[in-house]
Symmetry: C2
Subunit: 117 residues, 2 copies
């Protein structure tokens, strides 16, 4: 009936993960804590959210993994691929546009003028 934005409010966990992994290679358990800390406990994604996303991203070629053993502990480190960088830019752009759009609605009728024309 109408071409809508397909599921416009999704992919935030994906976005956060990609963004963090861009800084340095990280493993799942580490990501869970990093997100919690960096957001001041405002966002607390569990492992049940992180791991499936990680696997999906690897399947799509956005991340590549390598198993390493540290202190007798086996960790799966993820690094960003070229595809992943593109995906990150994409998601970040979408998120930015989305928040601006929502802000634009919340802010009232053309306060400063968006000057879209």
């Amino acid at each position: 009936m109408a071409e809508n934005n397909s599921n416009f409010m999704s992919g935030v966990p994906e976005l956060l993960i990609l963004r963090l992994v861009r800084e340095k290679e990280m493993y799942g358990y580490e990501l869970v804590q990093a997100i919690r800390e960096r957001s001041n406990d405002a966002i607390a994604l569990g492992e049940g959210v992180i791991y499936p996303v990680l696997h999906a991203l690897e399947r799509d070629g956005a991340l590549s993994s390598s198993r390493k053993t540290v202190n007798g502990r086996s960790r799966v480190y993820y690094t960003l691929t070229a595809t992943g960088v593109r995906r990150l830019d994409d998601l970040a752009g979408n998120w930015s546009r989305l928040t601006e759009a929502i802000q634009s609605v919340l802010g009232g009728p053309a306060i400063g003028g968006v000057s879209h024309a």
Copy 2:
């Protein structure tokens, strides 16, 4: 296993609707277009999204409706109740905190310092 934020990425359509209705009483079809226009086509929620949310909000006492006939057309106008105002403030606060948190993750490790302590 852990108390997480329950479905932290939801309620945006609800937020937008409440915000718009706060300005003046509006009807469903009008809301669909208002959201599209005010967001510069960035957000295009269909009627299939709007109406169910409208009904849920009324059921919860956040909105009250009144049927009016204009130009032989029957419209259901919605107005914000006191409960609705509270709900709006709530959602707006959550949204604000969420975007800040995400920004905080996207922005890198403590750029300006959040000084939470």
